[in-house]
Structures are given as C-alpha cells and as structure tokens.
Symmetry: C2
Subunit: 249 residues, 2 copies
C-alpha cells in the first residue's frame, strides 16, 4: 500500500457551540482542507465551498469515521475531522489514534495534528464564574466504554481528594437511573450543602444554567446536552457568580 | 460610592502562547476595551492603540490587580483582564471573584464575564496526541496556596482512581525538592512503566516535548514553564504520538 505523504489529518475542536469561540488555527485548517469528516451536526457548522467535500456520519461510529479520515489522508487529501469542544476531551482525538493503531503501518508516517478547542466544562465554568478555579477532575459518566462500578469508584475518590468535578454525558435515556446513583454517592461523600451546577446548551441561544445544593439536585436537571459541575468544599456564590477560591487548607 | 453601570470587566484567556489559538470572543473584547490589566508578559501580547490604556502589573499581586480592574469598571471603564491559557484554570478568574467578594457591595451589580481560552494542559495534550482522552484531573503542584500534604494526598487518590493527570506549576526554584517527592509518590502508586510527558513552552517557537516512563523521569525535566501530563494505566504510544484509549475496564 502506498501512502501519499502530502495528505494530512487535523482533528479540530469547534468549541461548545458559539462560533465566536473557534480559534484561528481551526479556521485556517478548515480553509485549507479538501475534506471534512464528522458527526452530522458538527459538519453542518462548516460553510460549504467549491473544492471541499463534506462527509457526514452518524455518531455511533467514531472508529469508522477516524479510519475513513486516515484513509482519505493516505490518498493525499487534506482532511479535517471536526469535533465539538476540544477533540482531546471525550471527543474524536483518542478515536483517531485507536484507528491509527489498528490501521496499516504506513499510516504511522502521516501528518496528524490535534487542534484544541474550548471544551464544554471550561465554557460552562466561564459562564458560571470560576467553579474549576482550584484542582479539579473531569469524568465521563457514560458507561458505554467502562463499567459503572469504575465510575462510582472515581466519584468517591475524587470527592475524598477534594476535587471540584466536571461530568460529561451525565444522563441518557438508555440509563436513566445511574445519574440518580451518582447524586446519592456525591451527597454521601460531599454532604448536602455542596454546590452543583447544571449547564445545558452552553454558549448556544438555548443556554440554561442552574446552580443548587446537592440536597436540592434532582436527576432530571441533567440530560445528554448538560455539563454538570460539582464544587469543592470551598466553592461558593458571590453575587450572580459561582467560584472556587485559589486557596485550600 | 457610585458605580457606573456602563463599565464592565471581561477576564480573557489568551491561550498558551500562540496567537492563532485566541478565540474571536477574546479579540472582540480587546477591540472594545478602554483598559487592559494584567501581568506584564500577557499585557505585552496586546497591540497598543489610541484610546486603550495598558496597565502592566507584577505576577505576585493577583488580588490587587483584580481589585484595580473592578475599580476601573465601577468608574465606567471597559476593562479586559488578560490571563494566559484559560482564566478559569489556575489563572485570574478566581482572583477576580475573591476581589469581588472582598469589595464594596455595589460591585456585585457590575457586568463581569469570563472568556475561556485554550488552557496549557489541553494545548500540551493536543501537541502530544491525546493523553487526556479518558477521565483525568488537573492539579496545581505549587504549595503557595495550599499545604504540600494536601497535594500528596491528591496525587495518591488520583493515581488510585486511575485518572490521567495534568500538573501546573510543577517545579520552582523556591521548592526544588517537592517535584522529586511527587515523582516518588507517582512511581509508588502507578509503577515505573507509566508514561509521563513534559511540555515546555507549548505552542511557542521554543516548544519542547519529552515523553518517558516514570522510571526514566527526573525532576529537572520540569520547570515553571512546563506542563506535566501523566498517563493512566492504558496510556500508550502509537508512532510519534501518545494517547489514552476511550475504553477502560
């Protein structure tokens, strides 16, 4: 198999939704691309132009999509894989490297770059104030790719470490009870006064932000379009804002 | 005290160093500002223009700088506080809310916004591949604002949780031994084969990336301009890249 070495793949973060949060690096990559590959709603954020082929794929097939992008690049195409948020945070970058690892050996020589973007938890934190202003962790609450028992273990240790926490994919129709279990664990480990924020459709016109205590939190405050942020023991409100001080004891 | 309600403060993330990673939101804020406040090297990244006053301050006085920005806004100025990376991650946003909390009550009505940027760990992860592609945590290793014992506790729990980890401020001249202690804890908790990456001056012309095992890691691989990323048990190399698979067992 021959690999054309003038092809490339760039996995680009489109940010959480508002185009004003896209970096110039990502705009430049899109301007130079011959092909854009991605999940339908992300590809639809790219303006069509002559010479640019748009490949829309379904969400369920990250690995196929990544393999498709690598194959196009090995044929000499300049391929942008579009990802929401930051491709390195629960998005397409890891899937691309999984496909690279499973693919033919010459692909290892391809020019592959990851272009960071504004990930949902940091966009949500900014809109809320600064709840992630001290040590924190990011956990994907979906059990598609790991057992629920591991998620519970991580929630407990993260709480015991005093981390603020950001949760991606907190709740879906296929697993409605798990987020309720996560809230129970958090109440047990953090107490009922701890602040928890729900940021839905962050930076989009439909954006909705809610901050309550763990005692007041209910599972239906989250869905798959929500990022959830749990404060650390010092997280507090000041005016309309929620923030975590830099100092800890 | 009277507060002019047409003033505002926006705390803007300039990203890790390369201006092509700045978002349009941040460019717009800088174009509309009357005053820019920040640590000297960040203010120097802003192009001077008539009608814009640049206020350069020393790094040690985050709280004074934040108070100064709020005072200017309450006098009716449009103030951008410039921050490296993302202001919400070990940067100026929390300091601003601390100053707001300590300040006069009318300041609570001020128009305050945080504009996210590309934080150093996500820029470093992108340059390396996708080492933060699964659950991860971010820890500031400086003991300026918390006791070293708390940092040790967090390192152990983060390792036991199986998080990938990103460290900010890993090492300074004033505390040369602590990063060596952190490496000892990591070797104890994670084993000597775990991958660790050092990203210095990420996205700048002087950028330098190194990935080794914990057995090979030495304290002098890090300084205050380095972000350190430790993989999780599944983090591996593929070609020139380092990545963490999406799946965990």
């Amino acid at each position: 198999m021959r690999t054309h070495m003038n092809g490339w793949v760039q996995v680009a973060g489109l940010g959480p939704g508002n185009d004003a949060m896209i970096t110039e690096d990502v705009r430049t990559a899109l301007a130079e691309a011959t092909d854009v590959v991605g999940y339908i709603p992300y590809v639809r954020r790219v303006t069509p132009r002559p010479g640019l082929t748009l490949h829309e794929t379904d969400n369920r097939v990250e690995l196929d999509r990544a393999t498709h992008a690598l194959r196009l690049a090995s044929d000499g195409k300049r391929v942008v894989v579009v990802s929401s948020g930051d491709p390195g945070v629960f998005a397409m970058a890891s899937a691309l490297f999984e496909a690279l690892e499973a693919g033919p050996r010459p692909w290892l020589e391809l020019d592959i770059r990851i272009l960071p973007g504004i990930t949902a938890m940091l966009a949500a934190a900014a809109r809320l104030g600064a709840p992630l202003g001290h040590d924190f962790c990011a956990i994907n609450l979906s059990d598609n790719l790991k057992p629920w028992s591991l998620i519970e273990h991580r929630l407990r240790l993260a709480a015991q470490a005093g981390f603020a926490m950001a949760f991606y994919n907190p709740r879906s129709k296929s697993r409605p009870h798990q987020f309720a279990e996560a809230l129970d664990i958090l109440r047990e480990e953090c107490g009922s006064d701890r602040l928890i924020s729900f940021a839905r459709d962050v930076t989009k016109p439909s954006e909705h932000l809610t901050t309550v205590t763990l005692a007041e939190a209910t599972p239906n405050m989250a869905d798959m379009r929500t990022v959830v942020i749990v404060g650390n023991p010092d997280t507090r409100r000041v005016g309309r804002h929620v923030y975590t001080p830099r100092r800890a004891v």
